[in-house]
Symmetry: C2
Subunit: 697 residues, 2 copies
Amino acid sequence: MSQDLTTLLNPNSIAIIGVSHEPQKVGHIVAKNIMDQGYKGELYFINPHLDRVLNKTVYKSIVDIDAPIDLVIHAVPSEIALNSLQEISQLGIKNVVIYAAGFRETGDDGKKREELLIAKAKEYDLCILGPNCLGFINTSRHINATFLKHSSPKGNISVVSQSGALGSVMIDHFIDHNHLGFSYFISLGNKTVVDESDCLEFLSQDSSTEVIGMYLEDVKDGSRFRETLAKVTKLKPVVILKSGRTQEGSKAALSHTGGLGGDAEVYETIFKQAGAVVANSYQQFIDILKVYSFGKIPTFRSVLVLSNAGGVGVLLTDELVHNHLSLVTITEHTKKELEKSLGSKGFKRITIHNPIDLLGDASVFDYRQAILSSIQQQDIGAVIVLLTPQANTQIMETARAIIEAQNHFIKPIYPVFMGEHSIKDAHRLFEEHHVVSFDSYEPLPSMINAIVESYEYRPKQPPSSHSPETLITLAHEQQIKDILELASSKKFLNLEESMNILHLAGIPLLPIHHVHHKEELDYVIKKLRFPVVAKVASDKITHKTDVKGVVTNIETVQDLKKAFNDLSKIANSEGCYIQKNVKGNELFIGVKRDNVFGPILVYGLGGIYVELLKEVTQFVYPFTLKEFTKKLETTKVINIIKGFRGAPAIKPQQLYEIGMTLGFLMHHFSDIQAIDINPLFSTDKGLFAADCRLILG
Amino acid sequence: MSQDLTTLLNPNSIAIIGVSHEPQKVGHIVAKNIMDQGYKGELYFINPHLDRVLNKTVYKSIVDIDAPIDLVIHAVPSEIALNSLQEISQLGIKNVVIYAAGFRETGDDGKKREELLIAKAKEYDLCILGPNCLGFINTSRHINATFLKHSSPKGNISVVSQSGALGSVMIDHFIDHNHLGFSYFISLGNKTVVDESDCLEFLSQDSSTEVIGMYLEDVKDGSRFRETLAKVTKLKPVVILKSGRTQEGSKAALSHTGGLGGDAEVYETIFKQAGAVVANSYQQFIDILKVYSFGKIPTFRSVLVLSNAGGVGVLLTDELVHNHLSLVTITEHTKKELEKSLGSKGFKRITIHNPIDLLGDASVFDYRQAILSSIQQQDIGAVIVLLTPQANTQIMETARAIIEAQNHFIKPIYPVFMGEHSIKDAHRLFEEHHVVSFDSYEPLPSMINAIVESYEYRPKQPPSSHSPETLITLAHEQQIKDILELASSKKFLNLEESMNILHLAGIPLLPIHHVHHKEELDYVIKKLRFPVVAKVASDKITHKTDVKGVVTNIETVQDLKKAFNDLSKIANSEGCYIQKNVKGNELFIGVKRDNVFGPILVYGLGGIYVELLKEVTQFVYPFTLKEFTKKLETTKVINIIKGFRGAPAIKPQQLYEIGMTLGFLMHHFSDIQAIDINPLFSTDKGLFAADCRLILG
């Protein structure tokens, strides 16, 4: 159920239950934080055992306060917080923050406590942030309702985090920098009521927020989150840092806040498909937030590099290419401009290509001329200006020249001033002028890639533009239902049943014929032409190749009979399937059900290589043709699509539609747990499913 | 030719030709640098147009100096430097540094100038550093013979660099840090005489150098470098940063100092096989040098993580796993120790697993107890202590506890104190006590991986322990020579000739029979048993599959005759080859010739998948079985070796020996330019080459 956070995050009055005069206690720190930050609303302290704290009256109980309260902050242990909810609700209070740990994250007892909390929240219609959280910060309203050490400078970055500590680290960073700060910081904790989607909704409408950052370990409601995220990224950039990318990481995350982490690639796919920027580390998360906070954004992949150090230019180039960025080719026109503007140096000493090596003695004049003559070129996505502090390097002058150039250009200029001692002041100056600078080149290429990628993925139309529903007629729907119902006691359908469903769903396939007795072979042969394939028929054999259950390239009746005999002798054999033998490259398509996000399509190379290579790529249903083709470009499957070893090219659209149809089948029929098509033959007549397995669950 | 650098880098007297009184000129800066650093030897200034510079007499010419000169520094343009070499030699001077650019790196004229320089150096027996370099620093002797802006603090790090600017960046970093500095910094420039191998030899014997860093764009003498590096890494750690990893990077490097960059993976393989630490970025290069400079080294992969921020612990865990590091499993004994030492907190709130989450309120007591009770565990390679500045975090106290623990333990403890404002002083303290610390977790896992990897690769015996020479008898050697000589006018050998050479070299193969006329089929069939494979025979067809030139699974005489007919009709066909049809997984082995390092072995999945997947792994000949098996573990080939889909496991040794034999063939017969075996069948009877192509050059 979605929550409106307006009053919780912008309360006109706050009551803190559990204030303390011990400086190390949460009940003291939060009271002090709210006062120190200069909150203008009403503030009430509650503790039955105290009279005054921080020179303010302390009430014995919340019922003693004879005034409306917008928000209650619980700085008390879990049991006390739980027991007070009814009373709070009876006073007409809607919003509660609970800091206490001791819920889902601590085992079975905690889990029960959390279930009780959720039930009470529902019963009393409470909007609860937490528990097991650090509270929130709203700098516009001067509210620091956390027990963090420092308060955050006011800024245009809002962060929603499943880790409170991350907030402390960010604030510690902001304090030492210019123009960086939170608009809101929201610590989610266990997300019993308020979740990431609620926060996204709220922040997307908040005028003080220019960019939204999220640190997530899991997502509460997959489909709502996906929908909300896709909507919000159209309004504001959303940068996501997700932990639990590896199995070990997921295990650690699980014990951390007790979330049920989904598959890492599925999350990344969801984020990208919805147009978010995916950060691969904390440092990159901060860098990207800074880029959006300062406002000049790289939106395409071509980069121009200027440098006074050839070697570092090469290291940077390696890193750019590694991150799928390209070096702009310098046009003849720009070349001439550069030569003209650099004077004798341009003519005699510099070979003008990208990266442009201005040599160790590069002056501010050289840098300025090079920037001004090259940045005009149409196809530049970003400019990187590398500087190493050499004997005659004019560090501050060059910094000023870059700031001036950046003021006049919409494309971002990123100074990489390397070293430490000599370049500190320059970095301070850059920040004062809202220029994002770096003291080494490493973080930059991967950061630009992450940002540009989000623009490339951001869908122009919603993914439902191609409606796979039209592929399945109502009549067929009933037939599919019948097959599934008949098989409902089984764990999976046999090959015939599985292929039948594919056929009814409109997926092209190579027909199969089940032969139980040798006598039926003659009949089958009349319908098929040689060569044919024979496969063992059995409900009990999963990998037919492993038991030598597949005979290919059968050319004669004699050979076919021999194959039938051989296959019938395999344990658990129920005769065999006969199918036309086609030539083509083998692909794999499967669909599986994710607990959080629903149907996930998996594409890869087919045949036995699925398991040998374990190289697949995933898509969360539904997805657009554009997303599909873009992501496929980065996989080996693209080689087969483009035509490989004599086989003709195939249209990605065909492959896309089969995937969408499988996704729809799973979306529509909740009994289906997984479908594997392997191989899907890519032939000169198109794509054909040759084998299939449908798992029920 | 190897150079002894002792006098060049430790001169008792230096003459600078081209001193200047203009503060921005190289001839002024270097003079000032040497004086400022406090050089104790004799220093002479030379400039025909000046009388005094920096309060010192200036000689008109070098011949006017009536004293022995150990080193001449040329701060003059290229032509003047070139013309003075004869005079210098006549004075009995051996060592010269040339700063001037304008050689190989600037095109054809420069290339000629460089050839002239090399010829003169040889004629006059001069040891020249440069040209196009920045000179060198020797802090023990107080020599800063560079034109860098700052002088370096004295330290135990020596760096040899093909980029002078990198030295300026490192010094700029050292100045602001404690206990970091150069012992030597040597700027290589164009490496006309002194090269990286000379520097390695020298530094390996230098007692002030604890660790050697190298920034390389290429290597001058591949086999000498390889040999020297393998020798030196047994004495001292060598950390290498190589640029030109990508094609674009190589292009940029090429124009930078004009080096002929070899293939990036070949370099990396060489470095690793020789026991060097390979840094993947400048920042990592610095971090690794710092680790060796401070002295506590991680040598195995298991890591223990302590943290006061669960979320960041998860992010770190992801990164550790991503870098092939593992989280130590905490033993029952350690668990009990921890529970005991942490008191009530240990019992009630912390689930003890790795990462150990000490929770947001972790005190110095908690940190100290956790470190002391866990670090005793046997199998820990390194400990990472994560700290985020939360309300009650005892930052400096915890820093001191870590330093104390590190003083008593040989295993490295890496503090990751995150943030900026609150943790600066702690990082300063760590550095003062030689503890390598980080302000975010990102760089650490990849750094540990790079260091540990070098210990895993470092060979216990030299790679020649298994001598492939024994595989080829002398009689066979003559036969191989004969085949190659007969074919010397051709670009490649045909299948028969190629397979013949494999056979003579002792590589197991599936015999082939060349059938020119249909009449010969009967004879062949008597020797082989069905099923067989028929392949088109032709000197002109490279990819037989592409022209439908391979028929597999032939079971009858009738089918074989049909196949022969079909294959004979293909353009350029010269009949066909008949071979036994075997079942097995297909591998690929090839060998190619690298200009710098000689024979390179390439292993991959075979059949048509070589080109579809383009996934191969390389080894530089010769290599040890240990290196081979270790590197193979990271590839898909390992799946086939371990036995895949019914096929039995094969011994890596067989695969290794075939590769070493191919390497020996290429090493021994200079006419061979490349050999491809594809497929190499992995069957239950072992490995068999089924097809082969040998390229001459």
